[in-house]
Symmetry: C2
Amino acid sequence: MLNLETYISERVTQIDSALDRFLPMGERLPASLHQAMRYSVFAGGKRIRPLLMIAACEAVGGSIKSVLPAACAMEMIHTYSLIHDDLPAMDDDDYRRGRLTNHKVFGEATAILAGDALLTQAFILLAGADPDSGSSAADKLRVLQIIATAAGSLGMVGGQVVDMESETKSVELPIIEYIHTHKTGALILAALQTGAILGNADNQAFAALTRYGECAGLAFQIADDILDIVGDQSLLGKDVGSDVHRGKATYPALIGLAESRRRAEELRDMAIDALAPLGSEAEPLRALVSFIVDRSR
Amino acid sequence: MLNLETYISERVTQIDSALDRFLPMGERLPASLHQAMRYSVFAGGKRIRPLLMIAACEAVGGSIKSVLPAACAMEMIHTYSLIHDDLPAMDDDDYRRGRLTNHKVFGEATAILAGDALLTQAFILLAGADPDSGSSAADKLRVLQIIATAAGSLGMVGGQVVDMESETKSVELPIIEYIHTHKTGALILAALQTGAILGNADNQAFAALTRYGECAGLAFQIADDILDIVGDQSLLGKDVGSDVHRGKATYPALIGLAESRRRAEELRDMAIDALAPLGSEAEPLRALVSFIVDRSR
């Protein structure tokens, strides 16, 4: 019987220690930049994307060693996107996860550059010659291309632009789905696919994890939208209702809270169904998608 | 006898047509983002970095085909850095190369995201499976890691942070050299080294091009500092004297105009000397470093 709490905490410990190893020390010149990078990477993130990548790799028989650098790169890309999203020119947020946002501590210019440097550091890591990884150069290039594509103008950054442009406009469900599948979904899907590749998945397992990733990614974002309305501010560490306040495009705003919940649970079940070919090795992935849908922060 | 003007214009035509091919179309969703990316990429840049990469590749007997995607990636990284440098939180520039800066046309949020997307697009390209390139996966990873390292917190972004922090402070020559070798020099050096790798240079040629890249990179930045003081505003397309106005750390401010000129010319000669092992194939590189030092814009 899987204990998800133990599963997560053991892996988060390894992720955090690897992130520490893969980031330049805070004393290294320019110290302000490296401190700003570390501030946001170690600001209490849930490590959902690296956890999913590790779980996908393990579900097909791969080892955590072979996936840890890519998992850390994924978290650096996620962190850079949060730093830039919080900027005054974007969402203008003062707090995230209960702590001051990067630009409130280090200033706007350093925050922009810390985001730039984290994105770049992710690719340094992904291209890295890690003797422990056991992955071929061709696999590394494929992983790098999947992650970069998911993060770029046709993925996460594209979703952020459409999200921004849809504020205070009345938008239809297809636009919300575009925003969600691009802004959050693309990177989550990439985490599953690259975990599969680095675990040497066969085609059937790769397809199963792809399907799981599509469903879990959208479920994650709907759950986020719901939390913005009903969440406990002290657990979330950010203002509840901030999406509503901004007129952001969300599921509950368009289809209501009850229907949003139903849809998130349906996607959770579809994600779990997709894992059928993988057997018991995929137990952590089943538990993770339930955790994602039912979480309170 | 090499005609540098013809050499440059032939290659810039190929670079520009490849950049057009390697960027999503301006109509593609989100259109505002792709238009913003294209606006700055096609804003009259001199394509110095891709030209140097191509010339390095050709100097060791490689073909332009094998280096064109990486050369375009290099230009995208350079362009992203200019977009972010021009932001209100950074240098707050309204004009670059005689045209409005990205954020003046598309707004600050889109400009930040267009920069992010260009940086990411560069890595999509570098990881790309280009059947024409003829480079091995291992060489591509090595190229990617050299470029990412040169662009990151220990390279270009680091140089930008120290440059920013040194404004209005009195700084010593070692700090100016740090800024120059990191902010501009790192990417120029990376252009030479990756051009060498993609042209299958042997160790001696790689070392020669590395030495050339170190000298040419610093010469380029000293020439830039000089142009900021004595340049013709109509040719430069930006405010002459803007570095002085901001109290920026420059060579002429510290060692005077005449000594700066002497130093730039000395570096040019050292760059040319470094090419001795490469013979006549390196003629374009010799002409390019002279062009860099003697240019009027």
